[in-house]
């Protein structure tokens, strides 16, 4: 029972109680703030290297902007309109999807098979796992030379083989589909091993295999190196075939901004259009994987019930 005489004792209690309060408050902050601190490096880095450039690119795309002479007047969506009216952009988009499909689909199938093999109890497992990564570390210059020799239109190995079996030579640099197949070969050579290891990791640790596969290959829409290397007669600022047979969106973006046009405004518009395309595909992917990924969905439902 509380009596008045007990009251004077209260100030004495204040100090320890305050100390407890402080500790509790710190504890509460720790619980509330620490998780954010722990994950903050990613967000800080992302803000600097991801979000800021993304927004800045949007600003650039709304201006007339020269790489060398800098910012010009605000032009609204004119750069987007210009780009969308250029047949070359649509050609580049078509080529990007075509090369993406021709390289990604066989690549994933092959990588899945190899990963399944590597996942088995092989002898000298590490050797094989390292082995599949070898093409990935071959210098791009060497890759360009090898594939240049194979797919030369007149003196190439591939056409020599084809003529042996009675097939007329293929214009690897002039025929749209042929050029895409040749480049897809180059992509597959370089990246199948890499994807094999990603898939292998997914098989061993992460349950949602499909999500891993799609997210690890969607970057293929940014294809740039292989088609650029494939065009021997042009520099990176003009590569892609005499009729744009194998120019891709990122090549087009680079040529607009860093070629002799120096048109950074249009280049930024292309970058944003590509971003929107990738975003759209990612959303479809997200929806798709959520629909079919029954196990993680079950977990989420279970959590919902508990909360």
């Amino acid at each position: 029972m509380v009596t008045i005489t007990e009251l004077p004792t209260r100030p004495r209690d204040v100090r320890p109680r305050r100390r407890i309060g402080m500790r509790q408050r710190l504890g509460r902050w720790d619980v509330k703030v620490s998780p954010y601190l722990y994950i903050s490096p990613f967000f800080v880095l992302f803000a600097i290297t991801g979000l800021f450039p993304l927004l800045y690119t949007a600003v650039v795309s709304l201006h007339k902007w020269n790489l060398l002479t800098g910012e010009g007047p605000f032009v609204g969506l004119k750069n987007y309109v210009d780009v969308l009216h250029q047949p070359f952009f649509w050609k580049a988009l078509r080529n990007t999807f075509s090369i993406f499909a021709l390289s990604t689909i066989p690549q994933i199938i092959i990588a899945l098979v190899i990963a399944a093999v590597l996942n088995a109890n092989l002898r000298a497992r590490t050797f094989w796992r390292m082995g599949v990564l070898v093409p990935y570390v071959v210098a791009p210059v060497a890759v360009a030379m090898i594939f240049g020799q194979i797919f030369s239109d007149q003196s190439g190995m591939m056409n020599a083989i084809l003529s042996k079996v009675g097939i007329s030579p293929v214009g690897w640099h002039s025929n749209v589909l042929a050029s895409h197949l040749a480049i897809a070969n180059m992509v597959n050579y370089r990246w199948t091993g890499y994807n094999t290891l990603v898939i292998l990791a997914a098989m061993q640790a992460i349950p949602n295999l499909i999500f891993v596969i799609i997210t690890s290959t969607i970057g293929g829409l940014q294809i740039f190196d292989e088609p650029t290397m494939f065009d021997q007669q042009n520099s990176a600022t003009t590569a892609g075939g005499a009729d744009g047979q194998f120019v891709t969106v990122t090549m087009y973006l680079y040529q607009l901004g860093w070629g002799s046009q120096n048109n950074l405004g249009r280049s930024a518009a292309v970058a944003w259009l590509l971003f929107l395309v990738i975003l759209a595909i990612s959303l479809v992917n997200y929806w798709f994987t959520n629909r079919i990924a029954s196990d993680s969905g079950a977990v989420r439902r279970a959590r919902k019930v508990r909360s």
Binding site: T49, G50, L51, F52, P53, Y56, T57, V60, W65, L67, L68, T69, G70, Q86, P87, F88, G148, Q149, S152, D153, Q154, S155, G156, H173, S174, Y194, T215, T217, I218, G219, G220, Q222, F224, D225, E226, Q232, Q233, N234, S235, T237, T238, G241, A242, D243, T250, L256, G257, W258, S260, Q261, N262, L264, R266, A268, A271, L274, F275, I278, L279, S282
Partner: protein, 432 residues
Amino acid sequence: MHKSRTVWAAAAGLTGIALAVTGCSTGSSSNSASTASSGGKVTLKVQTFNEFGYADLFTEYMKDHPNVTIVSDKAAKSDDARASVKNSIATSTVTDDIVAADVDWMPELLKSSDFFADVKTTDNAKRWPDWKMAQATDASGKLIGLGTDSGPQGVCYRKDLFQKAGLPTDRAQVATLLGGSSATWDQYFATGQKFMAANTGAAWFDSLGALAQVANNQQAEPFESKSDDSITVGKSDSNASKVFTMLTSHTDQSAHLAQWTDDWTKAFASDKFATVMCPAWMTQIIAGDAPDQKNWDIADVLPGGSSNWGGSFLLVPAKGKNVTEAKALADWLTAPAQAAKVFVKFGNFPSQTDAVKDATVTAKTDTYFNNAPTGQIFSNRFSAVSKQPYRGSHYFDINDQFGKALTRVDVDKTDNAAASWQKFLDAVKQLG
């Protein structure tokens, strides 16, 4: 091909653009890579590409100037060097005290001529012919680049194939055959017709694109009007359409081999074509690509008169920390005596009037080309060059499209001449 774990990596891919333009807009201050330490010691960083032949000269200069240390910053490809120069302008940062630039980059660099120091002195003002100086002079008359080499053109030909076709093989006779000092394109193609009629199995030249490089450079205003920089290719009787028609009507004499492709490189060793337009630097390429083919020779003649293809400059960024020392080094490197040394050892033909007449230059012969007096021949070809085609704001984009238009007809055979010309005009219209 980039690989990204998440869609956001796409955003990261845009970093380059934003970082480039950010630096540009904020006008960030320069931070020179060179370090001027106490005691008057300076380190000069020199960016070059391919082979400028400067290693010995650097050593010599450092011996004569003990306070100077020269660091060579050689780009793997000329593409990389170009991107590096442009990014340094865009971000207003100085990474090298001296940067080398190909003549093809000069028009865009001249638009940012403020970024570079004026390198003209009373001493070097008469070092180069007017056309070479014009390539590095901005509208206000400021010289931003000191000329290094040049590419005067002759005609390289295959003696054995000429003999097979019943044509003369001696280089003086070949020069006369093609018209000597009054050589025309008509005569070149007429001779080509004779050659083709002999059915040697070889073509007369490598590709239309290779000839276009010469023919367009011989026009005073190939694609644009000098008076107002407007694009003229769309007019029915434009210079470009005349060149295009002339070339595409001789597709039958072409080997259909686009320059710089693997097929083209290999063709120098085999019997694919009998002539090739030959700037001085091309002799090294032929000798390198076909070391065992002993039948290449060179004639002191060029269809349509004369032409220069290529050549470079040394530029000094104005905001570098050691501009004075950098200018002195660039000036010394491009002085006639040094240019002559580079030619003798590396074959880069000089662009300095005195160097071209230098006895060590004119006395040089080339064993690969049957001991042809290449020094004297290119000296003659150099003296014949008198004009510089007008290169406006869109020159290189149009030139690129022009080359692709010819490739479509000649190499890829995806379009006929008329359709390809229409595509060319459409592409030019899209330039922003």
